[in-house]
Amino acid sequence: MNVLIYAGPGPWRNEALATAAQFVGQIATSVTLVTGGGIRHTELLDDAVARLALPPDIVVERRVVEGTPQEAILAVASEARHDLVIFGRLQRPLERLLPLRRSDALTRRLRTAVLRVSGPARPIRRILLASGGDQHTFATAKYAALLATPLGASVTLLHVVSQQPVVFEALAPLVADEAAFLAGETPEAITLRQAAAWLREQSIPVAMRVRFGLVLDEILAELHEGDYDILAVGTHHAAGPLDRVLLEDLTGDLLDRCPRTVLVARRMPHD
């Protein structure tokens, strides 16, 4: 697995390196360390190598690029195929209030999975996988498994039901309690069960949760109540330009509002 890590200056640099150090040595075959801002930040790359404590068999490449962190990451990511890009949150707290400084701008432009580190570095023990109940869940589960397996972390599959009947006699009953929903035959419940079964096959401890309410609020509430270390989500599934105008970007919203590290999974090339 080829991993790109932004090791240059940034508000969450230390946390990003501490988080990456937990698993990169076990999953990567090559690591590309990147910094923006030119050669004056070269020593930050050496510092990152020391902090990551990578095994000697992993190929390490150091890249110094002029420009902002975002420009540096995009430039290096476009040169070769990477499976995972890791960086700390690049916005400062006050910048998040500006509507045009969305956290997902970089994530959206990258063609790979992203681990956006935010909040204090903590051992990765519990991963919350937010599932829309569709086939994209499996791609997210594969990336969650990549992190969970070497770390012995557990994965909780979460699905949020925000639907309500439009008319008083819905064509199919809306199951309003968690156990009944998970045991049901809705496409979402079947997907959750299949994803859970696949994760168990990887020897990963799995739990399933269903919450009822607004998608964003319920995901963040579960993240807080369950004290999870990482939130794993899929990418925004806009199929075309019209979708980009019409659909709410829930992944982007989560990146904006989530106080913890977020793993944004993409379908792997061999999927």
Binding site: Q164, F168, A172, L214, D217, L242, L246, E248
Partner: protein
């Protein structure tokens, strides 16, 4: 033309061996005919209401003690319960204004009341299902959502509108289309109204006939609605994905500018939804948008029977609701959404809270009448 565009009007074989020809009328033609008939009856209804309101309206307003904007709010609210719709009540308010029965502020608040009452109807029908054994609280959730969303926007909008009307801010607004619209309809309806006058039909009968005609007109206009094809529709995933609030807001406005009824607009979501379910994130801004363009028929009614002054009153209502809605959408949407949906959950939590809420909704307009 495909099969969906054809409405089967008559196919009654008298015997199995004697199958007669079947008369097919294209669906689009039937819809156009319904629309034209609906508009013509709508205008006639407004004229009848206006004539009837001159005598009967005063008696009605006196009977219900409508003496202030607050009591007019309660009056419109209660009437909407009686008519199971807000649009006829708003049209009646405009007719009352045109007949000099209500003043501008009373007309304004009566129209607001009609919308609040209309929102409860969605919930009321759901509650009947609920009491008949369909115990899922979720079955009435959208009705509760429609009502509290409407109240949350309309009540502050009412304050804004009242300020605009009393401060003189809106005196510069005039309806340019008044004269041509009236002249078109005058030649058509004057002979009918003259004949009714010649027959000596009392005011209350004209008023009653106006209400019946109004309800027929709305029923015909409902039949004129185009069919929704979920397969070739950008909103065909309304039950699965979350659309941007502004997009759903615009959709609610667009759909209701055709249906003119929030409850009809909500039912139009059914073919777009998965298993009759739609995401809450999508319905809230949709209702907000629908709550603005639901005034279009009242705006037309005001233009026809009340002239520029009545038009201005309805326009102020519409603009006030639009301003409040846009402020919420642009600046406080997530807090608003969370508050509305939490309140909705609290109300539909169990039968007791739902009954208490419904009782309050019935008592409040009655109490308002006392002011």
């Amino acid at each position: 033309m495909n099969d969906d565009d054809i409405v089967k009007v008559e196919a009654v074989p008298e015997a199995a061996s004697d199958v007669r020809g079947t008369l097919w009328i294209p669906g689009w033609l039937l819809r156009i005919a319904s629309a034209v008939a609906g508009v013509l009856i709508f205008v006639l209804a407004l004229d009848l209401l206006k004539e009837g309101a001159r005598d009967y309206g005063r008696a009605m307003v006196a009977f219900f003690s409508v003496t202030s904007p607050v009591s007019a709010l309660g009056f419109g609210w209660l009437l909407a319960y009686m008519f199971l719709s807000g649009s006829p009540v708003a049209a009646i308010a405009v007719a009352f204004f045109a007949a000099g029965t209500l003043d501008a502020l009373q007309t304004f608040t009566m129209i607001t009341g009609s919308r609040l009452g209309a929102s409860l109807i969605v919930l009321g029908v759901g509650f009947l299902y609920y009491l008949r054994g369909h115990r899922r609280a979720a079955s009435v959730a959208i009705g509760v959502q429609a009502l509290i969303t409407t109240a949350a926007i309309y009540l502050p909008a009412m304050a804004l509108g009242m300020w605009a009307l009393t401060s003189g801010l809106v005196q510069t607004v005039h309806a340019e289309a008044e004269a041509p619209l009236q002249s078109v309809f005058d030649w058509l309806y004057e002979p009918v109204l003259a004949a009714i006058d010649a027959l000596g039909v009392p005011g209350w009968a004209q008023f009653g006939a106006g209400i019946v005609a109004l309800l027929i007109a709305f029923a015909l206009l409902d039949r004129a609605l185009p069919q929704v094809d979920p397969e070739s529709n950008a909103f065909g995933r309304i039950g699965r994905v979350v659309y941007r609030p502004m997009v759903m807001f615009a959709l609610g406005m667009a759909v209701t500018s055709v249906t003119m009824s929030v409850s009809v607009s909500l039912s139009i979501l059914v073919p777009l939804s998965v298993r009759g379910l739609v995401r809450r994130e999508n319905t809230l801004p949709y209702i907000m948008g629908a709550n603005i363009t639901t005034f279009i028929d009242t705006l037309v009614a005001a233009l026809i029977v009340g002239g520029a002054a009545a038009f201005t009153i309805v326009l102020v209502e519409m603009v006030s609701v639009a301003i409040l809605s846009l402020i919420v959408l642009l600046f406080f949407y997530h807090a608003f959404e969370r508050s509305i949906l939490r309140l909705q959950d609290a109300i539909v939590r169990n039968r007791k809270t739902l009954i208490v809420f419904l009782s309050v909704m019935f008592v409040v307009p009655i109490v308002l009448l006392a002011f």
